[in-house]
Symmetry: C2
Subunit: 147 residues, 2 copies
């Protein structure tokens, strides 16, 4: 026990969270290769599968990604013909992002991914529930402090 104990890796809570996130995303990669999606593109598609049409701001708010990340990412999804990008007629500042037929089709191919992932994660239902709520609690606490 010494004065620098708080600065050891094994006493960090953030480090395993960081590890966990990285390793999970690394594990997604081969599962998503079939869909020609990266992890970030996958969650973007997931948002669009639920909403069909949206814009950069709403996607940004939902996924906690800024335009510097989203603009090139959405261009890549457009290049793969999973979405379309058009200026809104009502408000030219907005960019309408809409899923295509090809993008919708992808949803069926993606159905096996969540199941495969949860097999890798391999937690009990209770553990998943606990973890889920703790994660959102932290995210909430972090944004609370920020106002």
């Amino acid at each position: 026990m010494n004065k620098y104990d708080s600065l050891t890796l094994k006493n960090q809570l953030c480090f395993p969270i960081y590890l966990c996130s990285k390793e999970i995303i690394r594990r997604y990669t081969p599962l998503l290769d079939d869909l020609d999606l990266t992890y970030t593109q996958y969650i973007t598609m997931m948002y669009l599968w639920e909403h069909n049409t949206s814009n950069v701001k709403d996607i940004s708010d939902a996924l906690f990604l800024d335009s510097g990340t989203l603009t090139p990412l959405l261009k890549k999804l457009e290049a793969k013909e999973y979405i379309t990008r058009t200026r809104s007629l009502k408000d030219e500042r907005n960019l309408d992002v809409t899923i295509t037929k090809k993008g919708l089709t992808l949803r069926d191919k993606a159905l096996s991914v969540p199941c495969e992932m949860s097999k890798c994660i391999n937690l009990s239902e209770d553990e998943v529930k606990t973890l889920y709520s703790l994660m959102y609690k932290i995210v909430g606490n972090l944004s609370k402090e920020e106002e």
Copy 2:
């Protein structure tokens, strides 16, 4: 309840983990500015504060970062004069990474960081313990599958 329920953001466990990691790192940034460190550089220094001397492979194993990430990062830490990089005499394939006096001094300046962070995270001791063990459980499960 429909067939695509497993593909909604709110039913993902991985998404809040990913969010949490990102938001925590974003919160580290201003705290680490004083030390002229990024988050990844910070955990690398943390490892070196404990070990004084190491090499790329051991750092890589400890931090789950590959040489493609570490090589440029260590060069930056060298440029800041926090570490030295020299080829090992015993085995020229190895790169000796050693902390400098300036790098050691940094440790005292860093002492306030963990405390500040845990104030932002704001979880109870029990919650921290639960979360910590669940995170390492997942990391363990993921690497188990990988042999």
